[in-house]
Each structure stands twice: as structure tokens, then as C-alpha cells.
Symmetry: D3
Subunit: 243 residues, 6 copies
């Protein structure tokens, strides 16, 4: 049993509250247990300069933590830049682009901001999962007002963490588990059951191929459940995405 009473392969309580921002084209607050992230998608009618004339658009992401989203306060400078912050921002951006046909988007840009309100482990996986919803809601709205002509989303994307602790495989680590564990993996998957990102790090003890395979089994289970949560709040998107 885990410290919060969950089964090894059980997600924390997932909650996605859509349309929480007055101004953003798409937005939600995503909760993985006590981890809460505000995701907003901002539409810009032109693509970054290096894409000019290519006919394709861009989706990018920025991640930040509010100063007191954690046990001890983070200094503002550190919460907004620094290696870890940029690494996560880049991961979210790549993950979301895997769900988008950038040619269908055309020479436009969507910026997804993921700001952590409360951090209890898994902020990057919650950000990908919620960021996708914000992005999808923005696409729906842009289509509704004919700002874009076709739905550029071509797939679902969600993300989850898996850990390895004394031969047990744990799904969706909270902060306490994450701190105690040797190997921590993050998986980003598509609705069609494939991988977009696989990131695993053995802080203390390296892991075997067998263990990696077992972790993938559990991750797949978790991502599938997340797709259902996403679909519940995005409504029409699913069908539009052509599945």
C-alpha cells in the first residue's frame, strides 16, 4: 500500500476544470491530487519569424511555478527561468506539437502557459495533460469563429509519471514518493497508444529492461484514463480530431 492509500497502479484523483480564464482563447485548471496547474492557451495570428513563408505554424509552451506553490518559497527569478524550468517548458512544447498538424494550423502560433498553483509531484505530466486541454479548447474556439479553417489537432496527448521502488511499480508519484524513489520515468502518449516522449532517470540504482517494460504497462493504463478525463471536458474535439 502507498502512503496515501492508493493501489500501486492507481492515479490520484484527476480533475480538469475548463474555461477558468477570462481572456485566454483556451484554459483549464488541471488537478492530479493536490498538484494544481493553471493552463492557458494564447493565440497569435502570426507564426514566429523563422517559419515565415513556410505555410506552417507553431505551438510552444512555457512552464512556471508560483513562488509559494511548494513547501518552501521559491524565489521568483528561479521559479521562472533556470535549467529545470526550461527543460520542462521544452518537454511540454514538444509533446503538444506531436498532437498538431502544423500545416493545418497555418502561419499562426499558439502559446500554452502552464503555471503551477500547487506542487505535489507530477507537475510536468499534469502540465502536458492540462496544456493539451487548453490547446484543444483554443482550437475549437478559433474554428468556431472561422479564424482557422480546419481542426489542426490530429491526436490526443496525455502524460504520466511512473516510479520504481523496492521492486514495486508506482503510478503517478506524489512529492513524498518522488523524493524517496530511485527511478522516475515520465511517459507522454497519444490516444492511439504510441509514445511521444519517454524520459527515465535512475537517480541511485539503474534499472533493467524488464523493469522498463513493466513501467510502460502501468503508464499505458494511466494515460488511457487521462484521455477519458480530457474527453469529458473537451466535448466535440474528439470527433473533430478524426477518431
Amino acid at each position: 500500500m502507498r502512503t496515501d492509500g492508493r493501489l500501486f497502479d492507481q492515479l490520484r484523483e484527476i480533475k480538469i476544470t475548463p474555461n477558468v480564464s477570462e481572456y485566454a482563447e483556451g484554459s483549464c485548471i488541471v488537478e492530479f491530487g493536490r498538484t494544481r496547474v493553471l493552463c492557458t492557451a494564447t493565440y497569435e495570428p502570426k507564426a514566429p519569424q523563422w517559419l515565415m513563408g513556410s505555410g506552417a505554424g507553431w505551438v510552444t509552451a512555457e512552464y512556471g511555478m508560483l513562488p509559494r506553490s511548494t513547501h518552501t518559497r521559491i524565489k521568483r527569478e528561479k521559479s521562472m527561468t533556470g535549467g529545470r524550468t526550461q527543460e520542462i517548458s521544452r518537454l511540454i512544447g514538444r509533446s503538444l506539437r506531436a498532437a498538431v498538424n502544423l500545416k493545418l494550423l497555418g502561419e499562426r502560433q499558439i502559446i500554452v502557459d502552464c503555471d503551477v498553483l500547487n506542487a505535489d509531484g507530477g507537475t510536468r505530466t499534469a502540465s502536458v495533460t492540462g496544456g493539451y486541454v487548453a490547446l484543444a479548447l483554443a482550437c475549437k474556439k478559433l474554428l468556431a469563429v472561422s479564424e482557422i479553417k480546419a481542426m489542426p489537432l490530429v491526436n490526443y496527448v496525455s502524460a504520466i509519471s511512473v516510479g520504481l521502488h523496492n521492486e514495486n511499480i508506482l503510478l503517478d508519484l506524489n512529492y513524498e514518493e518522488d523524493s524517496a524513489i530511485g527511478t522516475d520515468m515520465n511517459f507522454v502518449m497519444t490516444g492511439s497508444g504510441q509514445f511521444v516522449e519517454v524520459q527515465g532517470t535512475a537517480e541511485h540504482t539503474p534499472f533493467s529492461r524488464q523493469q522498463l517494460n513493466a513501467m510502460m504497462d502501468v503508464a499505458e493504463k494511466g494515460c488511457k484514463e487521462l484521455f477519458i478525463h480530457q474527453a469529458a471536458v473537451m466535448g466535440e474535439i474528439y470527433r473533430l480530431a478524426g477518431k
Copy 2:
């Protein structure tokens, strides 16, 4: 009549939701209509270095805007530094210190973070008003666990904006009004009816002393109403503050 149907001397709907953060010693979300600010108070058991040996503590504040808290997205760097941001941070800090007996606080520090989730005018006055509640809740908690021996708060503090538009005095400006108006004043007041800060700027047409007096009348009315909202969520604080 105003564009949102309010009377000239009427506040927007005020809402203060306490204890919204898992980790902060005190916290609330304060809403002035569609303006929403997350306020958290962080306790540090030691004072800044320049106060060492003085027997006194410190209260400081930092203000920030989330990237998509406004109509058009603000770049992260700009939302966290820059002249305007620092100016507002300093104003909030000074205002909150006016409510505190720093000797009673002792060589400790409380940092109040005010992060704007949604901006529709009056973010600095909402930040002072909500920041005070976060500070008060933190003080209550520190007292309850005997981390401090006496309540360091000695007064209430709230803040409100007033504008001058075609000879009309408008209380609590929203963004639309703020943009259209020549003179914009911010008042920070104490529960005992005195001024902590008076800041007025005539962007286009200078104002007369008579007009300034009329604006103060309306500001007093607004701040008094805000004290009632603060008291409603802080409970025991009022009596402890001894006024």
C-alpha cells in the same frame, strides 16, 4: 450610470476566499469583480540581515502577473520585473507594514506574494486588501502554534481606487474605466480611518483640491466596506488586533 451598471460610488462584487494554498502559512484569493489575485504569506524564522540584532522583524511583498492574466499575453520576464511591477511590490509592502508592529513580530520575516490570475483593473488595491488577509491568517496561525508570542497586527489595512471622469467620481475602477479616465487615485487606509498611502496621477487634466477632497470621501466609503469583507474571513483577528 457606469458601463457595468454600478452606481458611481459602488464597489464591484468583493469576494475573499481564504486558505487556498496547501503550503503557505496564510493565503486567500481576493476578487474585485473580474480581477482575481492569489495572495500567499510565507513565514521565515529570521529577519533580513540588515535587521539583525535590532529586535524587529520585516514584512515585504512581491507582485506579479500571470502571462495570460490580461487581454494580450505579457512576456514572463516583463510580468515579473520591470518598473511597474517593482513599484507595485513596494507599495504593497509599505501598506502592509503600516498594519504591523515590527517589534512585536520580532526578528522574523513574512513575505506576501500577490500573483494576479485575472486583471480587470485595480490589481494593486486588490493585492493590498487580499495581501492583508493572507498576512493576518499567517499571524493567527503562527500565534496558535506559539511561533510568535503576541499578535503583531495593530490595525486593518485595505485599499481602493477612485477616478475622476467628466466631473464624476467613480469608485473602484475596472479596466475599461481606468483606460478612459484622466485622473486615477489609489488610497490605502487603516481601520481607524487614516491614510497610509495616497497616490494620485492626472494623466491628462490636472485636478483641483476640491476634486481631491471629493475623491477621498468616496475612497473612505469603499475602504470601510472592504474592512467588513476582510473581517468576515479572518474571524478572531479583529479582536486580537485590539481595535
Copy 3:
């Protein structure tokens, strides 16, 4: 009596020396007692980009302190940026713009630099008062060489500080007084007797409305005397400004 022998409502010795810079379009050194500020106005034939096509121009200001303008040396980085510096720069800019018809200026810009040579309290009020003179001298020169077609100045602007100390109202605080005093206000006024900026802060004890009114009385007296000093060095400007 005050430590330097002045009456409560008496300004320090005011001295404005015009045309001190070889290159600036307008310049002066302004002295409020031992506070000395070098003010230069730089003309640029085009407006900032965000005003392009608007037909209007811009006036902005930058404030800085020389490293050894104070009792203990300030580090260069700190003397040129930082919250306080930017806040004062913004105040000077707003104050000077209140004296200018930006449409008459046309798509041009004037930058007023206020660099403190010696700081003994009141550097921001001296900067507004001297910055106005530098601006006026630049406008006169631009008009003389037909670079602009009409005098864009529409009013006088000066600024003064007032303090509240043991129920006494003190005009034009020096550094020693400023450090000892609870409430410190800065007023920016026009030649027509109206307010452009009112900024008051009670560091320790909040102040009442009565006290604020008494401070305004004294501030008006101070600003009126400053207009006479300004007029003495600017010559023809007064009449051109249409008063």
C-alpha cells in the same frame, strides 16, 4: 525651529543654473539647498514606435544617482536601475507630460535625464522642477530653429515634498528630516494651481484627512515659489505657454 534654522514652511535656498551642458538641447543644474541635480533634455526627431502614425509625440525621463552623491557610495548597477530608480523615473516622466500638449509636439520625442550630483533629500522633487526647465529650454530652442512649429508646453510644473513630524508640517525636507519623519508626501503642481501627482506614505503613523489638507496648503506655497525661480531662468517661455 528646524535643524538647519528654517521656518516650518520655508524652502531651502533654490538655485537654477541654465545651459550647463555643451550638447543637450536644454539643460540646467537645479539646487534645493545641498541637493544638486543635473537635468538635460535630449531631442529626438522621431517618436517611439508605438506612437507611429498617431500624430502625437512623447516626453520621458530617466533618473540616476552618481555613485558618491550620497553619504555612503552606491554601487553603479544599483544607482541606475532597481525599483526605487525606476519608480522615480516614471514619476518625473508623468509629471512633465502633464505640462505638454503631445499633439503640438508632433511625432517627436524629448528625453529628460536627471542625474543627482549630490543628494540631501528631495531629489525627485528637484528633478521634476529642474527637468521642467531643461524641457522648456529645449522647446524654446527647437522653436527658434523651426524644428517644431508651436510651443508644446501648456503649463508650468514644479514639485515639492512636505513632511509631518510631531504635529508640525515641514516644507521641503532635507535628508536628516526625511529620515526622522513618519509621513512624507510629494506634490507635483501646475502653474494654474492644480495637482498632477499626489504621493503620500506614512512609514510609521498613518495620517488624518485634516493633516493631509494642512500639508496641501504648505505644498501650494512651495510650488508657487518654485514657479518664480523657473520663470526667472526660462525667460520667454512663460508668455509662450499662454499664461
Copy 4:
């Protein structure tokens, strides 16, 4: 066949030249084909402050690219900071720590600098592989002069990239292949055949679990060959590491 004539599962020519620096405690130039990285290990007799009193030491890494190590010159600022640079620095550091018993190192620090002299794809895997050699040579030297009492290295570590292109699995991608390919994975492995890091990104087309498994087969083959290259230049280390 590949553009440079290699078999799909063939490494580029690997060359490790040890002791290239006059001052560094350990150093080498590692070459994966035309990719060349200078790796230096710097010993510091004390650990970072946050480890004080823990009895444990630290190994960290910094990655940089020389301005003209690439086809088009990179600006110096960008070559030394920025998200990608920091992400790779963190990856190298984590990978090398997996080979070290930090308790055996004691309260000391080793900093491994990996500076890319020439970039033709795979700079991060070459950096891990060569950085390990520099680290090992430094440990050997510190042991020889009794600066440390026991060999802190407990395992080999090397890294290699694998790509997926039109159903083919390619080992050790060069720049041309890397640019053309959809899925790019980096594996960091230990001499005992386990994983330290698994990082895979599908830029365009997500990949299946079967494909991931096939990529792991090839990566294992590559890492094993790299261990032989490392052992050839490090001499005694292998036995000291206890295998």
C-alpha cells in the same frame, strides 16, 4: 545503407585521446566520427554548501559549444546558456553520478566540462562517454596521490543515440541523419547492462512499444562497444571499480 556507408547498427569511428589538458585532473578528447568534444574533470577539495556535514560529495557537469563548432556560427551567449545547453548539462551530470558512490568520494566535488569542438550529431552522448573517461582519470590520479582513499567509481557509464527512420533502426546518428529523422532516442547505460537514462522524442510520428524495444537492442550493442573504447584508455580503472 546509410549516407556515410555505415551499417544500420554500426557506430561511427570512435576515438578517445586521454590527457589532453595541461591542468585538468582528468581529460580527454572524445570523437564519434566528426563529432569532437573536449572533456576535462576539475577536482575541488570541498563539496557544495548544501552537502556540508553529509559526508557525501558531488559530481556535476557543464556543456558548451564553441562558436564555430557548427555549420553556422552560434553566438557566444547562446552557446553557453539557454534551455538546450542547460538540459544537456543536467543530463551529463545525472549520468556520471550514476557511476559514482558519492559517500566514497567524501565531501569533495568533481566538475566535468564538456566543450564541443566540432558538432556532427550526438554531442550529448559523446559528452557522457568522454566525460566518464575524464572523471575516471581524475579519480585515478586523486587516488594515486592519496587525495582520496578509495576509488569512488562503481560502474562504467556510456551513452549512444538511436533513431527510427522508415522502419529502420539507426545507431549513432550523425547530424544529417538526425535532422531527417522523426524519432531520436538517447540511452545511457552502465557496464552491468542496465539503464541510467532513457530519453526519446518523436518529433513527427509517435513510436510503438515494439519499436522502442528494437531501439533498445541496438543501443545495448552500441554501449557495449563504447565500454571497450573507454577501458582501452583508462587502464587500471576497470579492476578498481570492482568488476
Copy 5:
């Protein structure tokens, strides 16, 4: 003849006004014609950390230009940092240290700030020459109040520029001459007729050894005249320096 009517080997009008700052331990405004620099010397009772325990002190310098000290306004950031600014700061510091016995100064520091009020060529040579006077006045004062026990100055130091234009050797170049000239040299000399710094740059045409020798003749003449100007304002220092 030169554009300003001077002979080839004639200095501009030199003027040194001592004690211009209220707070600095030593200060002057130095003028080389229309070039005007404010020099202040700040005393700090302890040496930089890297000298702790050495028994020796330090003299350092910082150079800056006020935004409108030049024909076209310099941005503040640029006027205070940047390669040229740092290069000149370092030159002034080295030059002044050549005049000081750092052991006699003891573990103390003197910081000389040279801020250009008006730039018409030769700001670095004026800064060295005036910076020396500020330093000397500070030393005299520290000696008078027994803060130091012995005069640490052991020599005079002054600096002058020399240029080469169409086979003519020009002493003390103004801005106009400096812009038109190919070779520009700066010499820093001691009162005993030796060189502390020799810096020559041929922007267009390299110069011969003969020409260099001719430039040195003229520089010596200039520096000797500057020592007389320095001695006139420093009074007692000369004798104490013992040369």
C-alpha cells in the same frame, strides 16, 4: 595650426576644481578644455576579501559617462558597462595604483569614480589626472584624521593623449581631432618621468618607431604641465610624496 587655434604641442586649457562633493573623502572636477569629469574618491575601512590578511590595501576605479555627455545621447546601460567602459575603468585603476604604496595604505580600499559630465576627447586621460587629485585629497584627509598613519602616495601620476596626423604630432586631442586621426596614443607618466602605461593604436596606418619616439617627447611635455596643475590644488601632498 589646429582647428581650435592651439599649437601642435599645446594642451587645452586645464582646470582642476577641488572639493566639489559634499560627501566624498576627496573630489574634484577636472577640465581639459570642454571635457569635464567629476572625480570622487571613496574610502572604505576594509580591503577586498582576496587581500584579507595580506597587510596590503587596494585602489580601484570606475568610469562612466552621463547619458548626454556626448553629441548624441548614450543609453544608460551602455554608458555604465560595455567593453570600452570596463577597459577605461581598468586603465584608471592600474594607473592610480602605480602612485600608491599599497602596504602603507594597509588593509583599506579607496574607490575612485570618474563620471564624465561633458565629453570632448581625452576623457580617460582627464580621468587619470583628476582621479589622482581626488585620491590625493582623500589620502590627505585620512591622514589628518589619523585614519591612516602614513601618506601612501609615493609618486605623481598624470595622463595625456597624443595623435599622429599627416606627419604632425598633436598633443591632447579633442573629439574632432580624435575622429579624424589615424594613430592615437595615451601615456600615463609619473612625476619622476617614467611610464606607467603606454597605449597606442593605429586605426588606419601603422606607425614607425621614429614616430613613436616623437610622440613620447610631446607626451612628456604635456604630463609635466599637468603635474603643476595637480600640485596647485593638492597643496601639502607634494612634499609628503617626497619627490
Copy 6:
């Protein structure tokens, strides 16, 4: 005799290895004894913006030190910026421009990067000497592919250091000598025997004119030997340069 056995006027072993970079238009590694610098020349088909329309091009240089190129590791930030780094970059740029007819180059730019692999004194003189070779090789290549129509190099340029130690004149100081010595001069000379830069600093004891002359004699000898080394690797350039 010197610590490394050289005669007073003897260069260290000089070695220039051309064409060491895969991508740079011109490159070499230059060695002055144990000092090793990687020099690369990057061609850009357009000139900096401030030269647009002038018909002339630009040559600039950037200098950096790899973190462990020295006895104790330099922090990356410091190795790439800071006063000393910028000062040396500017010196290299000026020196190389003295060898180039910028009109013949046309509106193009060549950037020479000098990155120190190993520092044992004289990094700036090695950088000028090797940077010139990289520049020359780039010009040759651009001419060969008709990217430029005429050889823009009009002279040779090399640089060497000279020191003064107990009345002895030492050529080409290594780090140990440089640290022990009072006066350190750097000379940049042309193939026609003239000076481009003369930079001398007396850290402790000022030097006389006689001593300066003796140092020039030795410098000339050193530079002449360097021209022979440069010519040996540049081949055809010499004749093209017309001397």
C-alpha cells in the same frame, strides 16, 4: 637564464596547425609553447547594419577561455564576458583590421573567434598571431570560390609580449614569468615593420624611455620570426598581399 631554459630574447616553440575546423571558412590552432588557442574565421555575406551602404566591410573578433584552460577552473560566465575578456576581444579585432583593406572586402563581415584551450601566458598575442592565419585562410578560400573578387589582406600582422625583470628584457613571457614581472608590454606589428598596437603596463615599477626602446628591439625580433611561421602555413597569401 630563464626558468624554462630559454635565452632572454628567444620565443617559445611556435606551432601553427591550419584547417582544424570542419565548418569554419578558415581555422588554425596556434601554440606558443604550452599556450594553445583555437582560431576560427567565420564569413558572413553581409556587413553590420551601421556599415550598410558604405561599400566597406568589417572584421571583428571574440576571445574566450575554456573553463579548465587555466590552473584553477574559471566559471563559464566569467570566461566569456567580463572586462578583461572584452578588452582582449577588442584588441584582437583592431589588430586584424589593420591588416585588411575594408573597402576591398566589400559589405561583408568576418568574425574571428579565439578560444583558449590551454593558457600559459601570452594568450592575447597568440590569438592575434593565429587569428591572422585563420583570417588569411578564410580570405584565400573566399577568393578561390569567387565570393570576393580581390584579396582584402594588405599586410601581415603578428603580436608578441615582452617583459622587464631586474633590468633584463624577456621575450614571449610564459605564465610563471608574467606573474613575477613588473612591466609587461604587448606589441602588434605589421610585416612592413611598423606598429599597430603598443600596450605597456607597469604593475609595480614604472619604466624609463630607454627600457621601452630596448623592449621594442626585442619585440621586433619576435614578430619577424612569427611572420615566417605564419607564411609557412598560409602559402599563397604572402604574394597576394603584395609584400
